[in-house]
């Protein structure tokens, strides 16, 4: 258009892609090639040449698939360091995530072929199951990353987390002020909102958005009941408090819906990460036992 950019060339990002479509699906293609090769080799060795499946892991192909699978797993765990080590090189976390997703998914095929479909109650099968668990939770993560950002954006609008908390605290101060003119019983009800309100709770509460003992909720209801019986100056004061409590309830709702989406975006990690460590342990046991006992 007008004229080429005068300023830094690198600012010219005219096209941007998500991690799933990074570099025109580069890592999907690489993973696909890897899998096709693995399947072809498997077919060649076990179907065409007729090698017996019972000792699939012990064949040259078994060792190759196992080694490739293990190396990929180790590399996949490195993303935990990559995302935290902000070094200056020419890398992008998006590319890493893209590779993580597609290479991780390819393990389902590579490692399954490595097992030769031989399962049992042993450390080997445990390692395999743990791997599926890690991959399964990872798929949950991908789905969350695909569908939840837009909800996060819609829930918060232009509000930030800090603003939500600050607004609640500001309302608390106003509520306290407005409650000065209430009598003892009324004030105790309002106190519930100030003392017994948790903005967001445990992971479970955040995920379910279920806050049964919410102090503000009870205060809202009880003040409304008190208001019906009150009259004159007392009624006016209760109206004012009631309005403030309603506003607090509204912003609490926003904060909790926001926390819920955030929790859903993170929940899968509570399986993904611990299971990764368990997998690494089982994998070590699997490798050690294979080399020492066979």
């Amino acid at each position: 258009m007008a004229k080429e950019a005068i300023y830094g060339e690198r600012a010219d990002v005219t096209h941007h892609e998500s991690f799933l479509r990074h570099a025109r699906l580069r890592w999907l293609k690489i993973a696909a090639v890897l899998n096709v090769a693995a399947i072809a080799a498997f077919w060649w060795v076990f179907v065409y040449s007729g090698t017996r499946l019972e000792h699939a892991g012990g064949t040259w192909l078994g060792y190759t698939l196992g080694t490739v699978g293990a190396l990929i797993m180790l590399w996949l765990t490195m993303i935990g360091i990559r995302k935290r080590a902000m070094t200056s090189g020419n890398w992008s976390l998006k590319a890493w995530v893209s590779a993580h997703v597609y290479l991780g998914l390819s393990l389902v095929i590579i490692v399954t072929l490595h097992t030769g479909f031989q399962f049992g109650i042993n450390i080997h099968t445990l390692a395999y199951l743990l791997m599926l668990l890690v991959i399964g939770s990872g798929i949950m993560g991908v789905i969350a990353y695909m569908y939840l950002p837009v909800r996060l954006s819609d829930v918060r609008g232009d509000l930030t987390k800090k603003q939500m908390i600050e607004t609640i605290h500001a309302l608390d101060r106003l509520i306290l002020q407005a409650a000065q003119s209430l009598d003892h019983t009324q004030a105790r009800v309002v106190q519930l909102s100030l003392d017994k309100t948790i903005i967001v709770g445990s992971l479970w509460q955040r995920l379910t958005n279920f806050y049964p003992g919410c102090g503000n909720r009870s205060a809202v209801n009880r003040v409304k009941r008190l208001r019906r019986r009150a009259s004159g100056g007392s009624a006016e004061a209760l109206d004012k408090v009631s309005g403030l409590l309603d506003r607090k309830q509204e912003i609490l709702g926003t904060a909790r819906r926001y926390a819920r989406v955030r929790a859903m975006l993170e929940a899968w990690l509570y399986i993904h990460i611990p299971m990764t460590f368990a997998l690494l342990a089982a994998l070590t046991a699997h490798i050690v036992s294979v080399f020492f006992f066979f």
């Binding site: 007008a2 004229k3 950019a5 830094g8 200056s88 020419n90 976390l93 996060l152």
Partner: protein
């Protein structure tokens, strides 16, 4: 009654008082005429309690009258005492009506009808009797005033102070000093910088604004005053605001008629011109001397020294050198050719075009803030990419600009009397090319603030700088081997126009084929398609528009309006057509540019027919982005909230790559159609942050990034100027343990900005680290590019330049 004296001094301000005091000390017969019933009326009218400063600091005071920075009341009292003890012959309530006669026999007629005879006259009447007036409709209403004696006299008022010179700022501060007065005061200033005011005043003003005591409207001017209301045109549009009082402090002009009636000539016809004076302050009328503000000196110290000097000159002391002589002598010491200070001053003034409009005396004062250099032929004056924002004037010789960094032998000469380095004035970018001395040369170097001040106060200088920069801009934008000679006609036809935000420059369907250059700011191009105004494109500063109608001869094909307050240069279409006819290369360039623009316009039009809703959305998002300041951005961080998972890895990466402080707030900022503009530097084309950086520590780097260097003194000016709130003041946190230590043993706060508690616990026990201004530097110098974008796991964070993003990219985003 007729009295006769050796010296009659008109006006008892600092200059007049000092002159009379020295005359008294020397035992000369003298009279000091004062129109008021007290001495020094201008200072007397300063608001109560005003603190009067004694600048410039390096200048020594050699008057017989004492003067040190002090409160108005203390100063006036000291002067009253001195008046008596020195035996000064002062006549109050003696306003002069006319001056007649010549050296040896002047007659001053007073308004009372009395006459006074004197051999010599010293005119020290200042300029306050002739204030600049507001020109907008309603300026003559009774609630518009030009002075403020007692700020304590106004309560519960909404007051607008127009003009942010020292007087305006001091008035505004005085009006809000006492909270009990409950005044709401707004300062309205034409520009975003405060080059006219003293630094200390500007600081106080910002402090008051931050404390919420005054409001500040910059890039603004009143357009209408009505009873109870004022309409102010701001950078963002027009606003009608409630207003009880307008105090206009727009400076003052010399009382020209009176001075001219005495026979003295002025330096030019410009309304801001000062009387023509010799280095001994003698006007074109022998025996009539002019000193002080009327001679172009607003500062008390200067005025008082002049009072002393002028009496010495009258007494025939030809050996006396001005008080600033030693400072200037030292400055010129390294230049070749032994000249006297006054010869050097005359040399620079007559040889450098932008200095032509200065009087010899103004030149003296101006020179104190400047540097002078002598370079041998071939020596580099500055290197490409060097940091520097000063302006150079060539007093002797020529310089060569290396226009192609790869081939230093390709140069363009700049001749004697012209300027170079002016790009730094506009946006503080690094030097664009290396400049060498072509021959042995003598240069004057003016720092950015002094140059801006010069342009603000001397119209000739402003016009010259504008003419030269427009010429260079035309050559740069159109290239095509054009020479200054080729574009002489186009340049002569050019006109610099200020355009308000939202104002339309070219209307779709209008006739006309002038070409426009966007000098500052930016434009949006819209076209009416199917009854709706559809956003077509964005034109940044340094580009041109209007070529379609010029080449095709049709009507204007689209509407072009200013995205923000901008300046455009209009080039006459006929002159440009003649230029095109002579220059095939230029014609081809314009046609190529036009074809590529048309392609995009056609694409959008075509899309509109197919996917109407998408194009409407695109248009709306483009408007949203422009409203968020993208119109003045050069590079901006956007978050695609269709992808953002809120992990804040961008903020952590930012902190980890920059000493542990994040320069962006991801969540803050506005969002439209899931496109989020976070609180992060936009690297404005005209960075507000650079407006008043005392150590001149803010620059623009090679990639266009605006960055703050280690000279930062932590004053916070940049933070206050930034309208987007992207600069924070903070100290560098203590060093964290390595990532590995955190991963393995959990030591340290982990990735990202350490929290306050950790910082406090691990802070250096000695002196606390100083707070400095912290802002995005676009990760300048990192091979991989900005950390925020690289650290985003999903691809939500993207940095874009508006001209590339506000186009097809945005439209495609909508269609994905």
């Amino acid at each position: 009654m007729a009295d006769s004296f050796k010296i009659a001094v008109l006006g008892s301000g600092p200059a007049g008082l000092s002159a009379a005091a020295h005359a008294a000390k020397r035992g000369l017969s003298h009279v000091l005429l004062e129109k008021a019933d007290h001495p020094s009326d201008t200072i007397y009218r300063y608001q109560r309690g005003k603190y009067i400063m004694a600048t410039p600091n390096q200048l020594v005071l050699r008057a017989d009258f004492p003067f040190a920075a002090s409160k108005r009341e203390d100063l006036l009292k000291t002067w009253d005492d001195q008046l008596r003890s020195l035996g000064i012959n002062i006549r109050y309530k003696s306003e002069s009506k006319s001056i007649a006669g010549s050296k040896g026999d002047f007659t001053v007629t007073l308004t009372s009808g009395d006459t006074i005879h004197a051999e010599h006259l010293v005119l020290a009447i200042g300029t306050q009797s002739n204030p600049n007036l507001l020109r907008c409709p309603g300026a003559n209403l009774p609630h518009v005033q030009y002075t403020l004696d007692d700020p304590g006299a106004y309560v519960d008022e909404q007051i607008f102070v127009i003009g942010a010179g020292d007087a305006g700022i001091e008035n505004a501060l005085g009006l809000v000093e006492d909270h009990a007065q409950n005044n709401i005061v707004t300062i309205v200033n034409r520009s975003a910088d405060f080059a006219r005011a003293k630094e200390a005043n500007v600081k106080l003003m910002f402090a008051a604004r931050d404390a919420g005591r005054i409001k500040l409207l910059v890039n603004s001017a009143p357009t209408l005053i009505e009873p109870g209301f004022i309409t102010v045109e701001t950078g963002e549009g027009s606003e009608r605001l409630p207003c009880d009082r307008v105090i206009a402090r727009l400076g003052s002009l010399p009382p020209r008629k009176f001075v001219e009636s005495a026979g003295a000539k002025f330096t030019s016809d410009s309304p801001t011109a000062y009387p023509q004076l010799s280095p001994t302050f003698e006007s074109t009328v022998p025996g009539l001397y002019i000193i002080g503000a009327l001679a172009g000196y607003p500062l008390i110290k200067h005025c008082m020294n002049q009072g002393y000097d002028v009496v010495e000159y009258i007494c025939g002391n030809t050996q006396l050198t001005p008080a600033d002589e030693p400072i200037l002598q030292k400055k010129f010491a390294n230049l070749p050719g032994r000249r006297s200070v006054s010869d050097w001053l005359a040399f620079f003034r007559s040889n450098v075009e932008i200095l032509h409009g200065l009087s010899p005396l103004q030149m003296r004062e101006f020179m104190i803030d400047c540097e002078v250099h002598a370079f041998r032929a071939g020596e580099a004056i500055f290197q490409r990419n060097a940091i520097g924002s000063s302006l150079f004037g060539i007093a002797e010789g020529t310089v060569l600009v290396e226009i192609d960094p790869k081939r230093p032998s390709v140069t363009v000469p700049i001749e004697q009397s012209s300027i170079f380095g002016e790009v730094g004035l506009i946006s503080g970018r690094r030097r664009g090319s290396t400049v060498r001395a072509g021959t042995d040369c003598i240069l004057i170097e003016v720092d950015r603030i002094s140059a801006l001040k010069l342009m603000a106060t001397v119209p000739e200088a402003r016009n010259t700088v504008n003419r030269i920069t427009i010429e260079r801009q035309i050559l740069q934008i159109f290239g095509s081997g054009l020479s200054p000679k080729d574009i002489a006609e186009v340049l002569a036809s050019s006109e610099l126009k200020e355009v308000k935000a939202g104002q339309t420059v070219v209307h779709e369907g209008d006739e006309g084929y002038d070409i426009f250059i966007v000098r500052t700011g930016s434009m949006t191009v819209e076209k009416n398609i199917g009854g709706k105004d559809i956003f077509l494109s964005y034109i940044p500063a340094g580009s041109y528009f209007g070529e379609m109608a010029l080449i095709d001869g049709g009507r204007r094909t689209a509407t072009v309006s200013a995205a923000i307050k901008s300046e455009v240069v209009r080039l006459d279409g006929n002159a440009f057509r003649r230029l095109l006819a002579q220059n095939d290369k230029l014609r081809v360039k314009l046609e190529t540019d036009m074809a590529s623009r048309r392609k995009i316009n056609d694409f959008i039009e075509q899309q509109k027919k197919k996917f109407g809703g998408v194009v409407d959305m695109y248009s709306a998002v483009a408007e949203f982005l422009v409203s968020q300041g993208i119109g003045e951005a050069t590079d901006v961080l956007l978050i695609d909230e269709l992808l953002c998972i809120g992990c804040d890895n961008c903020e952590r990466a930012c902190a980890d790559i920059h000493d542990g402080l994040s320069r962006l707030d991801r969540e803050a900022g506005k969002t439209y159609a899931h496109l989020h503009v976070p609180t992060s530097c936009r690297h404005c084309e005209h960075p507000y942050c650079m407006t008043d950086c005392p150590p001149n520590a803010i620059h623009r780097g090679q990639d266009g990034e605006v960055f703050i260097d280690e000279k930062c003194i932590g004053c916070g000016n940049c933070m206050r100027y930034c309208p987007y709130g992207v600069i924070r003041m903070d100290s560098v946190p203590p060093k964290k343990p390595s990532l590995l230590m955190w991963l393995l043993f959990g030591s340290g706060p982990g990735p990202g900005e350490p929290d306050k508690e950790w910082r406090k616990e691990h802070a250096d026990k000695g002196t606390p680290a100083p707070k400095v201004a912290v802002k995005c530097d676009m990760c300048s110098g990192l091979i991989g590019g900005p950390a925020c974008v690289r650290a985003c796991p999903t691809g939500a964070a993207l940095r874009v330049s508006p001209e590339s993003f506000l186009s097809v990219a945005l439209l495609e985003r909508g269609r994905d």
